[in-house]
Structures are given as structure tokens and as C-alpha cells.
């Protein structure tokens, strides 16, 4: 069993309620931070912990916090990004649904550190029932003196508000989220200015993911240095992985980032192997936008070394032979899955979610969807594959926000690693409608298929 810092109490009966959460040691970090620490000391602990943003980008949290501007007389805001919408990712939902007070606790400490008196949780609109759970937890925290005016007699005031989105993946991008919080369309802003200088209502703002803010609780309780001892290299602490697709045990797992991908997929502690005794074909290890990897490159790096579940190892080899840890949305595909069809559904997703501001993304995502649909339905031509490659290349890096990259990478990786499957679709328009290309050369090199 690996170390658990976030989900260790998830199975305690009644942990969702304030009484049980408090009895189990909850809100200790608020007492410690507000009574014994300065705001600078809290930021310093978070820096020492090596905590990296858990939403997908992996940017060092302490450094992000230290960027916040502090102009005299201008309120600052902490905004919790709970707009979890990346296909394959459902970890924040789990954390908020079962441990709402852990998030609230992390938010109070972080709000204190950043000087935010009004903190907002921007939650995706579809998580309507979780909004109710969070609002109840906030009411309980307030009734027990952890929120509101003059918390613990320290003079610090803080309120937390929950705002629901309304169905837009793009609002997970921090400047789009800020626009949405202001009551606008979710069109990302051009940076600079960065939110730390001019964010919501043009005030200095920090936007952090749910899991990131929850991780502040163990960091304050155990100290940044102790937290940094867990994990390896720049992948410190624990990470929530939401595993889905063709595995025996889909769900949310907390890992310390020293286990191998093989152990994560095949051990009974985690995914429990591939469903129905089938073989592993491919995996998207960090949410739908990160490059898909065939089994051989997933379990071992191009150098033949075991691949680990952490930031560095998953990106070993760059995009040529590696991928990314991303948001931890771990999507497993078995031997029966069609890469063309999977890529098509993801391209459709990104077309649907493009905000439409930048032409390369607005037009390009639509073209990619159409061409992929054409190939998937047996009407593709060989030149379509090169055309797809060309389009994705022209989207990447040419848009205001990373949605363009997120749409381009899955298509690029699918062609890079599975070009033979695309060609097979073009060459076998009828057969491809009724049967599957199968495993071929990229079969799992460890659990060798018979």
C-alpha cells in the first residue's frame, strides 16, 4: 500500500459531515496556519513541498502563489478550479463528493496565505449535486467558526462561494474560467496580463485545481520538506489518478509517484488488469488531450526501461515516444478498440468545445472531425492522413489558449503511433466497418499476447 494523504479517510463512515471530519483530525491545518504561521511562511512551505498544479499543467504551486500582486487597497481572490471536464478525468468529483471538508480546509488555509476574503469555487454545471454537498460543508464550517468574520480570533475574514458553470470545457482554462465567473462567454484572455496581476474583476487572482488546494492540508500538517520526501524527483507527494476504459477496476486511486505503469494497470490494488482477460492495446495516460501511447511505449520507455507513473517518466522521450501525466485521467484501451474511432470521438469533443475565438482552432477542429469521420466510416483516402497531420500541426501553438494544442496532440499521436491502422481503414473500407485492426506490432511487451 502506498502513502495516502488525501483519500486516507475517504472510507470513514460519515466523513462527509463536519463532526466526523473534525473528529478525524480535520481543520488542524487551519489552526496551525492561522495561529502559528505568517502568510509568507505558508507560501514557503508550499514551495518546499514541490507541489505542482494537479489540473494538468503541473506548474509549481508555491511559485504561482508568489506571483500574486499586492497593490494597496485592491482585494485579491483565490478561485478554485472545479471545472473538471477533460475526458478521462473524474478525480476532483470524487474528492469533492466524498471529502468536501478537505477541500474547504485547503481553501481556508490557501485563502489566508493569499489574502483572499472572498474565495470562489467554480464547478462544472453538470456536477449539480456536488454543489449542494459543498454548500452544506461551507455552512457547517461557517457554523463552527472556520469561515466568516474574524476566524479563530485572528482578524482574518473569509467566505467561500460556489458558482456553477453551464457546460463548457474551455472554462477549465483559467482565463476563460475568470470570464465565466464574471458572467461572460468562456473566451480565454490574451496573457499577459496574467491573472496574478489582473484576474477576476481585474483584481489579482490565483486559480488552482481542486486537488492542488486539497494537497495544501497535508503539506501544512506535515511540513513541506516531509511532503517532498514522498515521490521522486520533481514529482513530489501523491497524485490522484482516475482510471477508466477497459480495465477490471475503474475508479479513483491515490498513488505515490514511484510505482510503474505496469503495476498500476495490472496490480489488484489499482486497475486490476485488462477487462475480460483481453490484451492491452493503448492508453491515454493523462486525460484525452495528452498523446496516446501504444502498449509497448506505455509500459517501457523507448530505451526499454520501465515507465513510472510520474511527470518525468511519462514524458520521457518527448512526444516522439512519450506522453504526459496531465490531469491523471488514465484511459485504457483493449485489443478490441479502434484507434480511428477513438480519435474521431475526441476530435468531435474538441470541435464541440472550441470557443471559436481563434481561426486555427475553430476551423481546424471541425476539419479534423470531418476527416476522421470520413476515414472511420470507410470513405477515407490515403491523402486524408497527411492532411490530418498537416491540420493538427497548423493548430498547435497558434491559438490564444492551450485548447488548440489539446485538440491537436491526440490526432498527432494517433497518426504517429498507429498510422498503419489509419492506412488499413483506407485500404479496407468495408472490412473496417465490421472488424478491427487488432494489436499488431505494438502489443504489450511484458504481458506478451499469445
Amino acid at each position: 500500500m502506498g502513502v495516502k494523504l488525501l483519500l486516507d479517510k475517504a472510507n470513514v463512515p460519515g466523513i462527509r459531515t463536519y463532526e466526523v471530519y473534525r473528529r478525524e483530525g480535520g481543520y488542524r491545518s487551519v489552526e496551525k496556519a492561522l495561529k502559528e504561521m505568517t502568510t509568507d511562511a505558508i507560501v514557503e512551505e508550499v514551495k518546499k513541498s514541490g507541489l505542482r498544479g494537479r489540473g494538468g499543467a503541473g506548474f509549481p504551486t508555491g511559485m504561482k502563489w508568489s506571483f500574486i500582486a499586492k497593490p494597496e487597497g485592491v482585494p485579491r481572490h483565490l478561485v478554485c478550479n472545479a471545472d473538471e471536464s477533460e475526458p478521462g478525468t473524474f478525480k476532483d468529483r470524487y474528492l469533492m463528493e466524498f471529502l468536501p471538508h478537505l477541500l474547504i480546509e485547503g481553501l481556508i488555509v490557501s485563502s489566508f496565505a493569499l489574502g483572499s476574503n472572498d474565495t470562489y469555487i467554480y464547478i462544472r454545471g453538470e456536477y449539480a449535486w456536488i454543489t449542494d454537498i459543498l454548500e452544506q460543508a461551507i455552512d457547517e464550517a461557517k457554523a463552527n467558526g472556520w469561515l466568516g468574520k474574524n476566524i479563530l480570533g485572528t482578524g482574518f475574514d473569509c467566505n467561500i462561494h460556489v458558482q456553477r458553470g453551464a457546460g463548457a470545457y474551455i472554462c477549465g482554462e483559467e482565463t476563460a474560467l475568470i470570464e465565466s465567473l464574471e458572467g461572460n462567454r468562456g473566451n480565454p484572455r490574451i496573457k499577459p496580463p496574467f491573472p496574478a496581476i489582473q484576474g477576476v474583476w481585474m483584481r489579482p487572482t490565483v486559480v488552482n485545481n481542486v486537488e492542488t488546494l486539497a494537497a495544501v492540508v497535508p503539506i501544512i500538517n506535515m511540513g513541506g520538506e516531509e511532503y517532498a520526501k514522498i515521490g521522486v524527483g520533481k514529482s513530489t507527494g501523491t497524485k490522484l489518478i482516475s482510471a477508466c476504459g477497459n480495465i477490471n477496476k475503474p475508479g479513483v486511486y491515490e498513488i505515490d509517484m514511484t510505482i510503474t505503469v505496469e503495476e498500476f494497470i495490472y496490480s489488484d490494488e489499482y486497475c486490476g488488469g485488462i477487462k475480460d482477460g483481453k490484451k492491452l492495446k493503448a492508453c491515454i495516460p493523462g486525460g484525452s488531450s495528452v498523446p496516446i501511447l501504444p502498449a509497448n511505449l506505455l509500459l517501457t520507455t523507448a530505451k526499454g526501461e520501465p515507465r513510472y507513473m510520474n511527470y518525468e517518466s511519462l514524458s520521457d522521450g518527448g512526444f516522439a515516444t512519450g506522453s504526459m501525466l496531465g490531469s491523471g485521467g488514465f484511459i485504457v484501451l483493449d485489443e478490441d478498440q479502434c484507434i480511428v474511432k477513438n480519435t474521431y470521438t475526441l476530435a468531435r469533443f474538441y470541435r464541440h468545445e472550441s470557443c471559436g475565438q481563434c481561426s486555427p482552432c475553430r476551423e481546424g477542429t471541425g476539419w479534423m472531425e470531418k476527416i476522421l469521420q470520413k476515414i472511420e466510416t470507410g470513405k477515407g483516402e490515403m491523402s486524408d492522413i497527411d492532411l490530418l497531420w498537416d491540420i493538427q500541426r497548423k493548430i498547435e501553438g497558434n491559438t490564444i489558449c492551450p485548447l488548440g494544442d489539446a485538440a491537436a496532440w491526440p490526432v498527432a499521436a494517433a497518426i504517429r503511433h498507429f498510422r498503419d491502422e489509419f492506412e488499413w481503414h483506407v485500404n479496407n473500407p468495408e472490412l473496417s466497418q465490421t472488424s478491427n485492426f487488432g494489436l499488431q506490432h505494438y502489443a504489450d511487451p511484458i504481458h506478451v499476447p499469445a
Partner: protein
Amino acid sequence: MATTFNDIQMTEFKRLVARYPEGKQKSALLPALHLAQDSFGGWLSTETMDYIASLLTIEPIEVYEVATFYSMYNLKPVGKFVFEVCQTGPCMVSGSDNIIDYIKKTLDIKPGETTKDGMFTLKLVECLGACGYAPMMQVGKIYKEHLTKEKVDGIIAEYKAQAANN
């Protein structure tokens, strides 16, 4: 249908607006539109949107541009129960195509359509964050997960019974 909030709805509206700084009441637009959609028959008419604009003292166009951007707002009437079935990658690899086909056949409607009795609308949606519990659909506030054909039959029966009891 009335397009003014009753007292309870107005209290909720005021609670939403109070969460934002003075003069930044437009920030309450998304939650206000959710409230309006829930209050006025499950969709947003032009009349409803104009009403929200007047309450927030913003231009109607500011409401239209937001209502048309976000996929959860219905801009035309929908059935009493809306089945929003996820069709994105992780659900697809877990068999959502079969579930969608089954719902289409059982309710005899295509995506975007409503049954003749006004009971059910079928919408195909993109990832709802239930990938580990796929295939799935959302009905109102509720997620229905690990869907099978049998489970779909049960869900349809459940809502028919619920409608009959009201």
C-alpha cells in the same frame, strides 16, 4: 408560463447576486440562468432572457451571448425529462453506442427530439466526468451510471411512474 420569479425564487436570486462585489452583479448571470431554466419549464425563452437582463440591469444581448455559448441552457422547449447521454471516448470504449441506439429505439426518437407525449428528450453530450462509471447519462441533477439496456428500461419506467404520480 409566468416569466417572473415567485418569492422563493426571488430570494434565491438575491442570494446569488449577493455573492459578488458591489456593481459586479453580472457575475450572477450563469447561476441566474440555471435558476430561470429550472423555474420556467426547463428552457430559456427570449422573454425569460430579457427578464434576467432586466433583473441584472444588463443588456439583453449580454444574456443571449452567454445563453448560446453554454451547452446546458436549452433554447427551445424540451421534454419533462432530458436524457443527456455521454458519447465521448471513455464512454464510447465502454459501449455508449449500444446504449444510445437502444434509447433511440425504445423511445422512438432521434438525438435532439422529444417523444410525442412530451415526456422524454434525448440529447447526446460530451464528457460529463463519469468516465470510470461508463456508460452514463445525466437526467436533471442526477447521474445514471454503469448503464445497461435493462437499467435504461428501469430508468424510463421510473420517470414514467414519477410523472404519473405528480
